[in-house]
């Protein structure tokens, strides 16, 4: 019988290896035991649960695809399943892990010197150092090629001036991977907390990703030694390659958020008795539940095939764009639908759909807005960039 509960309607479990299943189940258990009991309260009180960080590190959730530096060396499907389970908990927790692994450890591993790798990666795997990724600026994140933050070479050092905005984990990070314009084009720098000329400020009043820290970064004649420049990163392609990593994880995350909403809503429909029978007996409710299950199932298959392509080494970034677009849109639509099905109770943070719905408003914007991903796929079809 197809599993409509988990849900795994197309028996996608049978397409996973033992390793992948076991990784997923381990992380699922952590999310059930540690994240779900506290996350609504964190969201309500705009608090990032820092107490979970050591446990997440202990579990090996940071940089899990790396083979050295104390990391697990998992494949990309297993990594995706981790992201799915974390986002089933909360997009804020998944964002923290995405940034640490995909946007900070990945560029240091790919573009860093041996010295930078040895210094940062073991510490970051253990979350002794937290990282953030600074690309977006106040004047338009979708077009990073026009960034205004600049670095000028003075003597052996670089001097940074400018600001970054909407930076996940900004104020809690020991190290920021910051992308700036130089006379040779875009370059990446490791900016360490506490150095003169570097300050951060948290962005308050968010109605989304409330269990995640989002900050502004300011650089005022901030001197960075050449040894803190990522030597192999040249041009905008470097930060964009990081985004491909993080977007890949988000494609799985959207599925996780939708699963959380579906499970809670299905249970509600079984319990709720209106006009003499439970909601699950109503024709229109069955259509809605069937439609939610259809969307989740498609998202699951899309994410898994994307992961297989990535593990094969043939994944194209435009395929990631389609999956990020589809699965976050799917998650957001499912969350809104579930919010509605729950009636008045659905507006309370005690029910998860409204929290996921609000969170996914960030997720659909960051790492390339939905429109940007549509335009990326459009360019792939037509060969014409229409940004």
């Amino acid at each position: 019988m197809p599993d409509t509960k988990t849900p795994d309607f197309y028996n996608i479990d049978s397409l996973l290896t033992d390793d992948e299943r076991q990784v997923r189940d381990t992380v699922a258990r952590f999310v059930d035991d540690r994240v779900l009991p506290i996350i609504a309260d964190c969201f309500e009180h705009e608090r990032f649960p820092t107490e979970l960080i050591p446990e997440m590190a202990e579990l090996g959730l940071f940089g899990p695809t790396l083979k050295d530096y104390g990391c697990a060396g998992l494949n990309n499907v297993a990594y995706g399943l981790i992201m799915q389970e974390l986002e089933r908990g909360d997009s804020g927790i998944r964002s923290f892990a995405s940034v640490q692994s995909g946007l900070v450890m990945y560029p240091i591993h790919t573009y860093g010197s041996d010295e930078q790798k040895n210094r940062w990666l073991p510490q970051m795997a253990k979350a002794k150092a937290i990282g953030c990724f600074g690309l977006t600026e106040p004047d338009g994140g979708s077009d990073p090629g026009t960034m205004k933050t600049r670095a000028e070479k003075k003597g052996g050092d670089w001097v940074l001036n400018g600001a970054k905005m909407w930076i996940t984990s900004g104020s809690v990070a020991e190290v920021a991977v910051v992308w700036v314009m130089t006379e040779h084009g875009v370059r990446g720098f490791l900016v360490e907390k506490g150095i003169p000329g570097y300050t951060t400020r948290d962005i308050p009043h968010k109605f989304s990703l409330r269990a995640s820290v989002t900050s502004e970064l300011f650089f005022d004649n901030c001197r960075i030694p050449e040894s803190n420049r990522l030597p192999k990163a040249e041009g905008l392609g470097a930060p964009l390659s990081c985004l491909t990593q993080a977007r890949y994880g988000i494609a799985w995350g959207g599925v996780g958020a939708a699963i959380a909403c579906y499970r809670e809503t299905l249970e509600f429909c079984r319990q709720r008795i209106l006009f003499g029978s439970p909601l699950i007996n109503k024709q229109h409710m069955q259509v809605r539940l069937a439609d939610i299950l259809r969307r989740i199932t498609l998202g699951q298959l899309l994410a898994l095939q994307l992961g297989r392509l990535k593990d094969e080494g043939t994944m194209h970034h435009t395929q990631v764009s389609m999956a990020k677009w589809n699965n976050v849109r799917m998650g957001l639509d499912v969350a809104r639908e579930c919010r509605d099905i729950l009636g008045a109770g659905g507006i309370s943070v005690e029910c998860c759909p409204v929290r996921h719905m609000l969170n996914l408003e960030s997720v659909i914007t960051y790492e390339g807005t939905e429109t940007i991903h549509q335009l990326i796929v459009g360019r792939e079809i037509t060969g014409v960039a229409a940004f």
Partner: protein
Amino acid sequence: MNGVSLQLRILAIIKQVPDSNAAIKVLPGGSGIDFTGLKLVPDPFDEYGIELAVQLKEKRSDVTEIVALTFGSEKAAETLRVALAMGADVGVHISDPKLESKDEIFAAQVIAAAIKKDAAGFDLILCGKYNIDLDAGAVGPALAEFLDLPHVGAVTSLEIATDGKHFTARRRIEGAEEVVECGLPALLTIEKGLVEPRYPSLPNLMKAKKKPVTMLTSAELPGLEASNEGVRFESIAPPPPRPDCKFIDGEPPQMAKELVRLLQQEAKVL
């Protein structure tokens, strides 16, 4: 048993069981439960035993080896892997359709036979106070009997003497706490709360694949057949459906009257 040297070798038994949150479907005719698509997990009580063993090894230099043993289907390899990822050194996996049985006394016989094959012997054998699938709690005491070992059940705290030859254990009994002293080797079943099982980390889960696992079937454990069963399984039935809930409408005085009437005339409990 390893009574000679000042070294402790620990065996922790762990069973794969249906997840406590999973909906159990009974097969038509009550011949068993439907395992297709059923989520299986390591038994949470047995996990306390694994965790205790690992903590003992972390604290004491005389713990030489932790062996994790599972008796179950092929799929139980997953559970063994969790035990190895948590810190057990080697695994033993007993699996054979010929040995399948729901009788815990028979399971204890099979496990006892496997333990007797192990030349080095064990100083401490640990398992959960019962498994959440059958709730029988017979494996531990029966195994102790077959191995002729002392057994302390539902242990809530444990202190092993520095010489590794005896221990003090506490167990909760009705309205009191019992303190027992006992020599090693012995078999202990563990109560919830003695330790907090760790999550197997993902790197350890990967490394666990490389730890040695001995596979045992009825060929290696001759003379055992499920027909030895002390208890014969008849059938299994789902719990009876909960009776419908009745809502009483009206003003409180009428509602109270109606409630009394229903309790007297329909439920016949007054």
